[in-house]
Symmetry: C2
Subunit: 415 residues, 2 copies
């Protein structure tokens, strides 16, 4: 096991260390390991949002729609594109992740008729599961679920569940519980072989794990910007449609932002060319301005560097987990190989809820995911190696003193 000084040395040699100072950090002693749920506030965001309010809204008034705002969904999409291996005209910032998943899943099933089954896995984020089941039922089909037991489904298990009824395979690229990373190339390939389109949720990858949608031949994707991209609470989401599919698909929510000439005010709906047709209504510009700053910082840092540090941070977490006495009762809830996981590590423990509370009491913020996961996120832009080291030291302390016993168990129905 490495020493604290060695962890500090890793931070000293870290080429991304300078980025930590770009974030608002009001409590320097707080170890924030939940940037994979809500990323930190970039300092520059405060000024950017203020300028959007005071200069663009307050002073520019309605004229700012043309001079500054209406192009934002496409511009932010273009900025985000390199992070996910897409071309600038294949990504659009719009709506929220669940709405985008609905739009693209419905669009896919429409062109795939009569195939109306959607395939997913039981480890997918529940909101995705709900949305996909609704879309499948509307199309007269149903949702089929590969049991991945909290991990990630293998390409083999996906292939085995495919048949001529499956029109769409929709999965999370990184599992929100285990952090397991799916093989996008292989899953896309077996899906295409069986005649299905693919729709990826990149919420837990974007900004932390390089995604190569183009290289994988992926069809569709969605994701949020409030995790590793530090876009702010509930920041708008994005969607991706491969260029070859853009003119073939139409989405079900026919808002005016997806109309060919939105200010022409014709009464007949004619989907716009390119990505614009996947837009819906007027987007919240203050939240979009914040998202922009977050995306820019990640683009500046570079996704390869972010991934390199992310793997080193989560590898340190696994090493420190390995050094915990087995009597504490933890098991590793994430893949051991850094190549097979995203940027978080989950520790399983029957007392996980209490332990998460005890960690918070000791100034370490993890996430808890029912029933038994203590989730530790490594946000490469601001998480330090010494943070990880200190977090495990405090965890050891808690377990050694049974400190978590002083915290009440998870209230039923509220997690």
């Amino acid at each position: 096991m490495i020493t604290r000084d060695e962890a500090i040395a890793l931070d000293r040699d870290d080429p991304l260390a300078v980025f930590r100072d770009r974030f608002v950090i009001t409590e320097p002693d707080l170890i924030y390991l939940d940037g994979n749920s809500l990323g930190r506030l970039p300092k520059a965001t405060v000024e950017r949002v203020r300028a959007t309010m005071v200069e663009e809204w307050g002073n520019g008034l309605v004229g700012s729609w043309r001079s500054a705002w209406i192009s934002q969904p496409a511009e932010l999409g273009a900025q985000l594109a390199p992070l996910i291996g897409a071309d600038p005209d294949e990504v659009l910032m719009t709506d929220q992740t669940s709405v985008n998943l609905y739009k693209l899943a419905a669009a896919a099933l429409e062109v795939q008729a009569p195939r109306s089954t959607v395939l997913t896995d039981s480890g997918n984020f529940p909101s995705d599961v709900y949305v996909l089941s609704g879309v499948a039922e509307q199309a007269g089909g149903s949702l089929r679920m590969v049991d991945s037991d909290g991990g990630a489904p293998s390409a083999e298990s996906i292939a085995a569940a495919l048949d001529e009824r499956v029109g769409l395979v929709s999965l999370s690229h990184v599992n929100f519980k285990s952090g397991a990373l799916l093989d996008m190339d292989l899953v896309t390939s077996v899906s295409h072989d069986a005649g299905a389109l693919t729709l990826w949720d990149l919420s837990h990858s974007v900004g932390a794990v390089p995604v190569d949608l183009r290289g994988a031949g992926a069809d569709l994707a969605v994701g949020c910007t409030y995790k590793y991209l530090n876009g702010g609470p509930g920041a708008p989401a994005f969607l991706y449609v491969a260029r070859r599919l853009q003119e073939k698909l139409t989405q079900p929510i026919r808002g005016w932002w997806g109309q060919q000439d939105m200010f022409g005010f014709d009464l007949d709906y004619r989907p716009a060319a390119g990505m614009s047709r996947f837009a819906t209504g007027t987007m919240p510009m203050l939240s979009l301005a914040a998202a922009r700053e977050g995306i820019e910082i990640s683009a500046e840092a570079g996704i390869e560097q972010l991934r390199t540090k992310g793997k080193a941070l989560t590898s340190l977490m696994v090493d420190l987990f390995d050094s915990l006495p087995s009597k504490y009762g933890f098991t590793l809830g994430s893949p051991r190989s850094p190549e097979q996981r995203g940027s978080h590590v989950s520790l399983r423990h029957d007392d996980g809820y209490r332990i998460a509370q005890a960690l918070i009491g000791r100034g370490v913020v993890p996430d808890f995911r029912a029933p038994d996961l203590v989730r530790l996120g490594a946000a490469p832009l601001y998480t330090r190696f010494v943070d990880v080291w200190d977090a495990f030291t405090r965890l050891r302390d808690i377990m050694e003193r049974d400190e978590h016993r002083h915290y009440s168990d998870q209230p039923s129905g509220v997690t």
Copy 2:
């Protein structure tokens, strides 16, 4: 015609005059008559959004979801409720207007099966027309349109278009072009008599015209908060479902914010009780914070006072229109009776686009709506009587000197 001094006297006696100082006004000479497209920035919004960023996001981090944010959609809905004659537990702030219209229209047609025709009018906002046509087609039906010739459809024309195939009547309460105000009581009554549900778009009423959803027996409504409510560019929207219908309807976009126990992470979708089931995904909190400030100011001013002043302002517009020499070529594009219109007045002119540009050149910001409408909005919180008086003086000047001829005509495809 009243004199400028008389207009100034009206401002002196205006009980709402004090509210103008609550808004950021960087160019005191600019006459902003487009608050019905994008309302002005309240001064307090700047600080509220800053605090949401710095204190709640930057300092509170992920903990702010529980302590501050997750309840916002319901809290803002409750604040907005009195402005539209709803109970606090009948309104939810969520998504954008077009998404909400989609959700409620689809929910309505599901319970109305086999009735699958949606009835609207040709003067409805085009985005609504697009969305409704999509929902009707998905349900196996179609959109039926009453021709209202740019005005508002009469209850008689609605009644005449109703039959046993119509499941839903969806109309804008105030027409976005003419400002004509529909008789919500009567239209709801004839719709119910024919077995149809009603879905109102309140975007051009909320905050300017008292709406009595309860009194009218209305079923469903949606609306935006960036016009008279001054919620900011693209501010989140709201939806209303009468309490008697809440448990009967389910919406098609099954996001986790609409799930019974959203953090329970069950894989089976079970719609939450009450309004929460009409939520979808994680909401953009910076934009929501801005919307909150806007709603609070309108609630403080009181909808009856806002309406009284709005009627006086638009009546002054009509008086000043009447005093324009007929040789200028304007006709009135709005109802003459203040009871029959919302809070804007449209002037028709073949050269409307150029005239709108010339007004902007003279420091008056109207809106232009193709093909020939110069739209003048009266935002009772900050529009002064003298503003209206000066705007018409400048308009007279422009027409007298043919100043608008110096502006180029509307570029085709861009309005």
